[in-house]
């Protein structure tokens, strides 16, 4: 088995996009709802719950469709949803910031905008593990490596967003760039490949 393959790449890039999007999301809601503990807790809760749901769902889907193409399609879907965040944010924030308070407002906006892409991105990790595990005996190694890659991607995404992209290009473009990166990795395989991994 090749040690580094497509699944590893997708997991790494998905890690980048997930953490990057989380940082940018906090920046997106602050002007409307502030940065009080309530809003912060909502952000963490929505992201983690969506991730947990994604992991669970991704595991189930992976056993049913253990193909490279299915993984790529899911990743592409995640990219599209990330790109939609800043586009949908303006009308949604405009409609909610006067009508709703900090707690319900930020929860609604985050649940609508951020939860769907994070859920899809979360599903990629167990999916990739399913694709790469060939035998129970080697499962620890594969799982550990993919976990590590996803976390390393998170590290990169975190820093890229907070230290470079948000100050340089602004919040909206940060989302679009992360989405473009993920799409660039997933689109070619989603379109062409129908071979199993």
């Amino acid at each position: 088995m090749r040690r580094w393959g497509y699944a590893e790449l997708v997991v790494f890039i998905a890690g980048i996009s997930t953490l990057g999007a989380e940082i940018a999301a906090a920046r997106l809601v602050a002007p409307a709802f502030g940065a009080s503990t309530v809003v912060w807790a909502n952000t963490i809760a929505v992201v983690l719950v969506a991730l947990a749901g994604g992991y669970w769902l991704g595991g189930r889907l992976a056993d049913r469709h253990p193909h490279r193409r299915a993984l790529a399609l899911a990743a592409l879907c995640g990219a599209v949803l990330v790109a939609l965040i800043p586009l949908a944010a303006i009308p949604l924030l405009g409609a909610t910031e006067d009508a709703l308070g900090e707690l319900p407002g930020s929860l609604l906006v985050l649940a609508v905008l951020v939860a769907p892409p994070v859920l899809v991105l979360g599903s990629l990790s167990p999916w990739a593990i399913r694709l790469r595990v060939r035998s129970v005996r080697g499962a620890g190694d594969v799982t550990g490596r993919l976990y590590a890659l996803s976390t390393a991607g998170g590290l990169v995404g975190n820093f890229a967003a907070a230290l470079a992209l948000i100050p340089l290009v602004g919040t909206r473009w940060t989302f679009l760039l992360f989405a473009a990166l993920l799409a660039a990795v997933s689109a070619p395989v989603a379109w062409t490949s129908s071979r199993p991994a």
């Binding site: 502030g34 947990a52 595991g59 189930r60 900090e102 620890g140 820093f159």
Partner: protein, 483 residues
């Protein structure tokens, strides 16, 4: 898995709070913490996977968890020498020692996290019976660990730090997985979680040395009240490089930038004190106290995100409850949006050191502030900046200039400028109308008043690199000190 997930993310938050009183919570410190935590977890995952294939046994996993939690529990105890070193290094402005103590602390946190990170792939390996089930198994364990993290974050951030302090938070975080692991290994290992529970009874020392009247962990920061030999009280938050409120015996004047808020509203030429003001970022209430003395009929809406600071203000900083004063424990921007009041002056002095929250520096925010002003009213912002660094002040002046007709500056202290903006013309002559008791203060301010700095970038909600500008000036300042 659940218990470990709870510990790891909980420990990350607790580690930030452990360090905040000493290093502050700037992006630089935050980035280092995140980097070390994620790197440690990442290496732990990779290593755990390799080890798991060699020793796929429950007892090996349990031993690992026990060791990891034991190491986590001792973090707050051995961290103190490192942290004390940082205080002296900070005072002597020794960048090298400061960095050394920072990384010492971080390594301390990293080792137990590395061990706990190894658990995830190990557990997957143990649970996996059949390759065709790999997706479901991995997905379920991932999900369980994430839910554990969620519980850990909420437990630490919303309850534990405030209620039981950082030291005991670490102990509880360590005891939970230790208990689970000991249950697996057999009764005699219950000694370890038992010892951790006993350690909860250990006394917690004062966090930092100094003549501390009072210290507390709030939901937002570490706050302490320090008294100087002459009786002056200062409110310090986190690393305490900036003073957020000042109380001096026998006077409501501070000799600091706070006094400027008393006289600058006269620069609009209104000829009368403001009838209604909003003080965004009140902290211990230095400004409302001064208003109560000089302009008792002015209605003051005091706003601060951290409600705990009002209590500190009442107890230590002479903030008195009176009908003209209303307190709002709320974020400044949502407050301003929801209020129906129209103010003669809005003061912006909200800091989360060393930054002004970015969403209080943008064109959108200043438009909102303008819409909450009575005709002829003004917005006054305290801009703290490192020596000789004017980038942030220029950007704020440029941004105010897109919303208001007139912007002026009063460089009140070496490290603070008050920037005032209004649709009414601003002039030093207006300051002559200040009451007699404040005449000398107004005269000094009039002497300093000058047109706003030019040439800054306009900040928007989409792009307002406040942290970036401040980090850059801090780094160049620190680098300059080294030479």
């Amino acid at each position: 898995m659940f218990a470990v997930g709870l510990s790891t993310l909980g420990a990350e938050i607790a580690a930030q709070r452990l360090m905040a009183p000493f290093f502050g919570s700037s992006t630089v410190i935050w980035a280092n913490t995140i980097a070390v935590v994620l790197l440690a977890l990442s290496i732990g995952y990779w290593l755990g996977g390799r080890l798991a294939d060699r020793r796929p046994e429950r007892s090996a996993l349990a031993a690992l968890v026990l060791l990891g939690s034991g190491l986590l529990a001792i973090v707050p105890f051995i961290a103190h020498p490192f942290l004390s070193l940082s205080v002296s290094a900070f005072d002597e402005l020794s960048v090298g020692a400061f960095l050394a103590s920072l990384f010492g602390t971080l390594v301390l946190v990293a080792v137990p996290l590395l061990l706990l990170g190894a658990v995830s792939p190990w557990a997957t390996r143990l649970k996996l019976a059949d390759v065709t089930q790999a997706g479901v198994t991995a997905g379920r364990l991932y999900a369980i660990s994430t839910v554990g993290s969620l519980v850990g974050v909420f437990f630490v951030a919303l309850w534990a730090i405030e209620a039981i302090g950082t030291q005991r938070t670490f102990l509880v975080l360590a005891a939970v997985p230790a208990l689970v692991a000991a249950a697996q290994l057999g009764p005699r290992w219950l000694v370890v979680p038992g010892a951790l529970v006993v350690a909860l009874a250990l006394p917690v020392g004062t966090t930092k040395p100094g003549n501390v009247l009072y210290e507390t962990e709030t939901a937002y920061q570490y706050a302490r009240v320090v008294q100087d030999p002459d009786g002056t009280r200062k409110l310090e938050l986190n690393e305490g490089q900036a003073i957020h409120s000042l109380w001096r015996p026998g006077t409501v004047l501070t000799g600091g930038y706070w006094d400027g808020f008393l006289v600058l509203p006269f620069a609009t030429g209104s000829g009368r004190p403001p009838a209604r003001i909003a003080a965004l970022g009140t902290a211990g209430g230095t400004v409302p106290r001064a208003y109560a003395h000089y302009f008792p009929s002015t209605r003051v809406d005091a706003v601060d995100i951290d409600g705990e600071l009002f209590k500190i203000g009442r107890r230590w900083f002479g903030l008195e409850a009176r009908p003209q004063l209303r307190e709002f424990a709320q974020d400044a921007r949502p407050f301003l949006r929801s209020t129906d009041e129209r103010y003669d002056a809005i003061f912006v002095d909200a800091y989360r050191q060393p930054y002004i929250p970015f969403y209080l520096t943008t064109r959108e925010f200043f438009s909102l502030a303008r819409s909450r002003l009575a005709p002829g009213g003004s917005v006054i912002i305290n801009v703290g900046h490192p020596r000789d660094s004017q980038t942030l002040e220029k950007a704020l002046s440029a941004t105010l200039g897109t919303v208001f007709k007139h912007v002026a500056r009063d460089p009140v202290q070496t490290l603070n400028t008050l920037v005032i903006a209004s649709d009414a013309p601003l002039s030093a002559a207006g300051l002559d109308e200040a009451p007699a008791a404040l005449r000398s203060l107004a005269g000094e301010s009039a002497g300093r008043l000058e047109p706003a700095l030019r040439g800054g970038t306009v900040f928007t909600d989409d792009r307002a690199p406040v942290e970036w500008l401040i980090d850059a000036s801090i780094v160049s300042y620190a680098a300059g000190e080294e030479k």
